[in-house]
Amino acid sequence: MTEKVILAGLGGQGMMLLGRLIAQAVMLEEKNVTFFPSYGTEVRGGTAYYHLIVSNEEIFSPVIEEADTLIMMNLPSYLKFKGFLKPNSSLFLNSSMIDKVDVPESVNIFRIPATEIANDLGNVVASNMVMLGAYNAVKNLISIPTFLSCLQNVLQGKKAPFFRVNKLAVERGIDFVNLSKK
């Protein structure tokens, strides 16, 4: 099993945090993982992207050339990374911010209105957690309880009250995918 994921979004949409939490969760489940963030000149409002590789085997290059999954939070991100798709890749689009785009037919596409769902829950920044829920409902990469305990670890002190809404957001993401399957 090897899963290569590129996460990308506007700086501030929480892709760094999401990627790190997934990496931590799979590490705790004794899988190999590399997480390679873009760094340096990223600014709020610019595109920030992350390469995440999870495998049962040893991981050599942490740089992804062909992705199994893209998690794209806004249009510029999708335009930048659509070239990394291969046949049967999974594409998770935040449809609240990525409207009409042409997607190759061979790709499994999941349009998740993550920003809207998070907004309905009362906290727009939880859109990353909606995407995680949706992604994992399809790919089943991590155990959600492990993920949530990693999340709880970073939401300490003043941030502790935000755990509830983030957990809800994960659940809504899962539900969204499961309901659309039916």
Binding site: R20, A23, Q24, M27, L28, N32, V33, T34, F35, F36, P37, Y39, G40, T41, E58, F60, S61, P62, V63, E65
Partner: protein, 364 residues
Amino acid sequence: MSTNKDQKFLLTGNEASAEAAILAGCRYYYGYPITPQNEIMTHMSIRMPQVGGTFIQVESELAAIYMVYGSAAAGGRTMTSSSSPGISLKQEGISYLAGSELPCVIINMQRGGPGLGDISPAQSDYFQAVKGGGHGDYHTIVLAPSSVQEAADLVFDAFDLADCYTNPVMILGDAQLGQMMEPVIFDKKQKTDLSAKTWALTGARGRKRNIVKSFYPVKGELEVFNTKLQKKYREVEAEEVRYEEIDTQNADIVIVAYGTSARICREVLRDAKKKNLKIGMIRPITLWPFPSVIIGRVAERVQSMLTVEMSAGQMIEDVRLSVNGKCPVHFYGRTGGGIPSPKEILNKIIELSTIKEKVTCATS
């Protein structure tokens, strides 16, 4: 940070290097910010106060390296870190440290050059690191990690090597290694009984005074000192060479690569096997002393060697010296922050195997 032996941490190469230094007993860190190694400084700024150490964000790279000089002369375990342009600025101080036989650790998370370059990964400071970037006949011991775990382990070893040979040790990483996160375990034992530094400047009351210097104005004294220094370097060359040898036994072509390039080449090895190509690899872990003997030995039984670097070709000179004409040595490299992809390297290997066929046809 907990030091529970089996606990895994998800850390960047930068953070893991810094934490390993703390665990190795480093208590004096001086640095000036530069991407892509800032997480080393950040981690040190948090950890040093916790362990009673000294962290100073200094006014320049020169100040950093000379504060390292001072702490080393006083017998402390000390470190500085930077990235390529900043390491260039430290070269004078590194020469002085080597000339004064002072132990310290210097981390270079290389970025693209020359000049201010960019902040992408590169391996174009090889010459500077292994040939002595400053003036005079000296060497730093140069260690090249290729994973976050190895970064932690080698930083730990670097402090012991520095003390053992009273010599600066450089960790030659790159932006990719510094920025990427991987699980890491800190299972090396913390040194509690650091060997006494009888030469250190600790106050001379009740003993003969110690002198730390790199200045020998009396004619002849400097040559005597250099002879002693060279004797030490020969000892390092005899005792401290480290490398990893993979599938070289029946290989037709052997790749020589270090650090991030080596990591990418491991993937090439796996892909080549699927294509029934017999490819091996030698990964130097010490860049100085260089694993010349093993490379020379393997060169006798292979068709050719391929050096892969994120530079225009620097380590290849040492590979050629080691091979000494026993087989052709080819090169594949990317420059200015370009990272070679496994596909590119595999294509180069396929090209090389075709050359071999052509030669066979011509001679038969």
